[in-house]
């Protein structure tokens, strides 16, 4: 996942950028939502992790448990976004879906856009959404003996639900890729199903 091997999708695709800006503006205009304290969320999330940890054997199981909890959140977030963004139609193309997640979903959940959206240069069915400092993970310190654990598995569950709602099912995983001063920088990796990529090709060809 070296930076050199990635290309920024938003920079490459002018249309995508424009669309992102449009979605963002719409969303800002409509934003008048109640807040709760991040501390309340952090304490709840910490307890969810502890509860899940007591019921699984390994790190992978723990991640899939968190992903499952996030998945149900994703379904509700999708419904809410559809209901709130009345002008937004359900996306079914891969790129549009990704932009939708990168902007609308991230803003709905985290009050900001994700920090980057990129395509892997190695395989064209793989995309990455990066959040440099996920606020909801702010207080978590993963112990050394669990260093492969990514608490962002919760977020990957949310994303997995949304791509499914957009008819673009993918395998979604989460990885901690620390950078300077950003110990919990989280990369959400999406690998789209073969059918999705096949459909994309047909649609491209039919243009």
């Amino acid at each position: 996942m070296a930076t050199a091997q990635r290309q920024s999708l938003l920079k490459l695709d002018n249309k995508a950028t424009k669309r992102a800006n449009m979605l963002l503006e719409q969303n800002v205009a409509k934003q008048r939502r109640d807040k709760v304290s991040l501390n309340a969320f952090a304490l709840l999330f910490s307890e969810i992790i502890q509860y899940s940890q007591n019921r699984v054997l390994g790190i992978q199981d723990l991640e899939s448990k968190l992903s499952e909890i996030g998945y149900r959140v994703g379904l509700r977030v999708f419904e809410l976004a559809m209901w709130r963004e009345k002008t937004v139609h359900r996306e079914t193309r891969v790129l549009n879906t990704l932009v939708f997640i990168n902007t609308v979903v991230w803003r709905t959940l985290f009050d900001k856009q994700a920090d980057s959206l990129e395509r892997s240069t190695e395989s064209e069915d793989e995309y990455m959404i990066t959040d440099n400092e996920p606020s909801i993970l702010k207080f978590i310190s993963v112990p050394k003996e669990m260093s492969s654990f990514s608490p962002g598995a919760f977020i990957s569950g949310v994303v997995e639900a949304i791509v499914e709602c957009c008819q673009c099912p993918a395998r979604v995983t989460s990885h901690v890729v620390p950078a300077d001063g950003m110990p919990l920088r989280t990369v959400i990796l999406l690998k789209f199903d073969k059918e999705v990529m096949g459909r994309e090709k047909q649609l491209e060809a039919g243009k």
Binding site: D34, K35, S37, R76
Partner: protein, 188 residues
Amino acid sequence: MAKQYRSIGEEVWKNKVEKVNAELFIFTYGSLVVQLIKDYEDYHSVNKQLDKLGYNIGVRLIDDILSRTNLEKCKDMRETAEVISKIGFRMFLNIAPSVSAWSADSKEFSLILDDNPLNDFCELPPRAVQGGLWYSNVLCGVVRGALEMVGLLVKVEFVRDVVRGDEVSEIRVRLEKVLDEEVPVGDD
């Protein structure tokens, strides 16, 4: 006194806590409840588990309140109730339940939750209502855990909830015992 707590609570909420979108919190809580129902398959066990998770949160959350407020020790339960409502609930959920229905001995009171964010978007299926689920039971555990850490042993339970079809949501709190904090635990 109540007024002073209200302004402390509001000051902390406005200036000392980071915020997160309520929906993320509400959906995540909902997803946890669904998980517990899957794991326990029995609503009474789910209530118990929610209370337990809440307790675990409460014993940690109390330090969050104290480290942000510099509160002095409450003189009696009436003061404690005000702090729970106007500071505790305010700084985490941005609500302040009303305190009412005091018992004659001033050891028992109700928190009336006019606006419980956990209930937003929540519609309980009839079988959950019949099965006795208290959807927001985590709150009882939180209050119990938080008070225990400052030496107050309390019994906390939901008695009414709008998502169960009741007119209001009401949590009943009863002081059972005050621990003597001058003698540290484990110091023989």
